[in-house]
């Protein structure tokens, strides 16, 4: 398992990245931490002609608390964000979910934006972004745009990013007073991709639950605060709406049951965590 041939560009400016993408289009791929793209190269699932390495760009290595939330640049590694001293205060859901992303050894290299750009339906970071209603910042030559998380993920490893664009950053909404957050995951082993993962965001009026690993992308639903059988019915409807499939790891029925049980447990935990 060795990667196919490609040219390698070590970018020294954002303009170099966007110019190369404009010139090469779909034949170029941006590489950051490489924790997903390198195995895809080795398995020949990706065959770009050019790789553009963005890890040398200090302007993409920033974590900024803005009025919209926590903005994380494309060169920020998962371990760096997890080690941010204010993370649990700025966005507790990220602090809860990041330890479930891969293993310590892959978080040391893998980036936050790389996981989001890859859009694996069972990955934790896309799920958190959808749960929080965050934004993805796409850059191309002369132009930038921001896409809401739920409009960014289109399907299995498929996103709204055009060939000449790259994910320059993402913004996770900041935690507000009165909100509670929780994250839970069911997998074969810690560090594996989730069979089903749930992220809950609750406040005094509403309950929002996002589910990963069931549909072809992370999906969220928001309800007025429900309890008892009304909540059970809502979770059951949600579970069936996700069109779960059988695969090697779990049956569709188990996945639906996980949405009901894990979803209810996650919502209950988020309500207990409300501040």
């Amino acid at each position: 398992m060795k990667p196919p041939r490609f040219d390698y560009v070590r970018a020294h400016s954002l303009a170099e990245v966007t110019h190369t993408l404009a010139a090469e289009g779909g034949d170029a791929r941006v590489i950051a931490g490489g924790q997903t793209l390198v195995p895809m190269l080795s398995m020949r699932l990706a065959r770009p002609k050019v790789l553009i390495d963005i890890m040398g760009l200090s302007e993409l290595a920033r974590i900024e608390a803005t009025e919209n939330g926590l903005r994380v640049g494309a060169a920020v590694r998962q371990a760096t964000l997890l080690a941010h001293p204010d993370l649990a205060r700025l966005q507790p859901l990220l602090a809860a979910a990041l330890p479930w992303v891969g293993h310590a050894q892959t978080r040391n290299r893998g980036t936050v934006c790389g996981s989001i750009a890859h859009a694996d339906p069972s990955a934790e970071l896309p799920l958190v972004l959808v749960a929080l209603g965050g934004e993805v910042h796409l850059a191309k030559r002369w132009r930038q745009r921001s896409v809401a998380a739920e409009a960014f993920f289109l399907g299995l490893m498929s996103t709204a990013r055009a060939d000449d664009e790259f994910v320059a950053g993402v913004t996770f909404s900041a935690a507000r007073a009165g909100q509670g957050f929780a994250f839970r995951e069911f997998g074969r082993r810690h560090g594996d991709f989730a069979i089903t993962a749930c992220a809950a965001v609750v406040d005094e009026r509403s309950t929002r639950l996002a589910v990963g690993g069931v549909a072809d992308r992370p999906v969220a639903r928001t309800w007025e605060n429900l309890d008892g059988t009304a909540l059970e019915d809502a979770l059951n409807d949600f579970a069936y709406s996700l069109d779960a499939r059988d695969d090697l790891h779990a049956s569709a029925r188990l996945r639906r049951d996980l949405v009901r049980k894990l979803g209810a447990a996650t919502i209950a935990e988020a309500r207990r965590c409300r501040v």
């Binding site: 060795k2 196919p4 041939r5 040219d7 560009v9 490489g34 390495d53 040391n108 810690h190």
Partner: protein, 172 residues
């Protein structure tokens, strides 16, 4: 802009176990193969080649990382440590680091294929965690597969090494 072409070898300069090294790599060469076949340092083992098994784990700028998920050309200027760096260099032959010695004492390896990667992870882990719990060790070990030991002796060796290092041992 510097574009390394696919069909040529390009100079890569980095620090390997404290020594400056310059060698040549095609852009597609993985760091595992670069270390083993070009540089000639074969302590790093190649297992699954897609980041799952952890056998190829080394330290890049002090942090454990998968060599098989790293392109050789991307470590330009980096500080790389492999298992060869663990045993004290100037001591008598056969002397091991505290962690390695604990592995031997506890029979924390049988076939040894996974061991180099596990040692490089735990070496960094013990540097940052002076007094780890068993649960923390097991969580950190979840990034490694060992098919011989069942992990019990690996965990025991790690906790024993941590104790010894707290008592003033020196892990180099």
């Amino acid at each position: 802009m510097p574009r390394l072409t696919s069909d040529a070898r390009h100079k890569v300069s980095f620090t390997l176990n404290g020594h400056a090294v310059t060698a040549e790599a095609e852009p597609r060469l993985l760091l595992t193969d670069f270390l083993r076949h070009v540089v000639g340092v074969t302590g790093t083992h190649v297992g699954c080649e897609h980041g799952v098994c952890g056998a190829c784990t080394i330290q890049i700028d002090g942090q454990p990382a998968r060599a098989c998920l790293t392109l050789a050309v991307s470590i330009e200027g980096a500080d790389v440590r492999t298992v060869e760096a663990l045993a004290p260099r100037d001591a008598e032959p056969g002397r091991l680091s505290v962690l390695q010695e604990a592995f031997r004492r506890h029979h924390a390896l049988q076939c040894g294929f996974c061991t180099a990667g596990i040692l490089m992870s735990l070496d960094a882990f013990l540097r940052d965690n002076r007094d780890p719990s068993e649960a923390e060790v097991r969580e950190y070990l979840s990034g490694h597969l060992c098919r011989c030991t069942g992990y019990v002796p690996i965990v025991a060796a790690t906790l024993d090494a941590a104790r010894e290092l707290r008592d003033g041992g020196f892990n180099v």
